[in-house]
């Protein structure tokens, strides 16, 4: 049984979102307070048209480009790390973690999911050990 991680809605600031490094945001994107968009020195974040990013989410580009496709919806408290592509109109439920794994256009990801490119990608609750 997968532990459903707590949804922490206590961003450091509730007035602003933060941009650090090379981040391009298309007009019309909606970015909630407490969101952190961080691109490492060799990396970029590119956010498409009409994207929504919920409160307290963190996007961290590392080792290349992190792209969020047009119309993607990213719930509250989502963590996305790496040099990956999130496709157009992807819908990511709150409190999800995505690390070093791209997501195809139109995908719907349940809240609290873990998608990651470790040895055994384990988006399925069953794979929780013990």
């Amino acid at each position: 049984m997968m532990h459903s991680p707590p949804l922490q809605l206590l961003p450091v600031s509730t007035d602003h979102y933060w941009v650090s490094g090379d981040v391009a945001i298309a007009p019309g994107a909606a970015i909630a307070p407490g969101v952190l968009l961080q691109a490492d020195p060799d990396s970029q974040i590119v956010i498409g048209v009409g994207v929504c990013i919920g409160m307290g989410s963190i996007l961290h580009a590392s080792g290349g480009r992190l792209t969020i496709g047009d119309g993607a919806m990213i719930g509250a408290g989502v963590l996305i790390v790496g040099a990956i592509g999130i496709g157009d109109r992807v819908c990511i439920g709150s409190a999800t973690t995505i690390s070093n794994r791209s997501v195809g256009s139109g995908t719907l990801i349940p809240p609290g999911s873990l998608l990651c490119a470790e040895s055994a990608p384990s988006p399925q609750p069953e794979s929780a050990a013990d």
Partner: protein
């Protein structure tokens, strides 16, 4: 080099001690550090991090440890752990440890040296021994995890029997942890 300790005070924090941050530590300006927090040499505190010793205190963060984006460190008013210096702490984090994005370390809590705590994992009222690799979305509560254990992603470890049955860390796990740590060393 940015060091900021002027987080907005909570109503009960007016008489809090100032953080003691080693001159070689890097503390991102978009972080909150308040109260009696003792940060060692070459520590990295990433943006979006909240380290608030306003209820439980003090906190110790050992040298070369890195605390990545969105981590929260806080402590209950009651409950302490014994640090490696034999003093009592609300939260002790050892040296050369990595606390990955969005993890929650909630005191009373002890995390040893050379540990890796993965994305969004929670450590509460627990001890995690030296060299443990805790993967993602894990809950560790009310247990003492022996040194050198691997805690798989999604695991909920809330009884000592579970903690004692955990496998030992393998080379592949260390490789993965090192990769993730690398993300923040850029």
């Amino acid at each position: 080099m940015v060091v900021r300790n002027a987080a907005p005070p909570t109503p009960w924090s007016r008489s809090l001690a100032e953080p003691k941050i080693d001159a070689t530590a890097y503390v991102h300006s978009f972080s909150n550090i308040i109260g009696d927090v003792r940060i060692g040499a070459n520590v990295l505190i990433a943006p979006g991090t909240s380290i608030r010793a306003d209820e439980g205190h003090p906190f110790h963060i050992g040298q070369n440890t890195n605390v990545q984006d969105g981590v929260v460190i806080h402590g209950l008013e009651q409950g302490r752990v014994i640090g490696d210096d034999a003093h009592s702490y609300s939260v002790w984090v050892g040296r050369d440890t990595s606390i990955a994005h969005m993890a929650l370390i909630h005191g009373p809590a002890y995390v040893g040296n050379q540990c890796f705590i993965g994305f969004r994992s929670t450590i509460f009222n627990a001890r995690v021994g030296d060299g443990c690799v805790v993967m993602m979305h894990v809950l560790i509560q009310n247990v003492n995890v022996p040194a050198g254990k691997l805690v798989p992603s999604g695991a909920i470890i809330t009884t000592q029997e579970q903690a004692d049955r955990l496998p030992s860390v393998a080379a592949l796990d260390l490789e993965f942890a090192t990769h993730v740590i690398g993300i923040n060393q850029a």
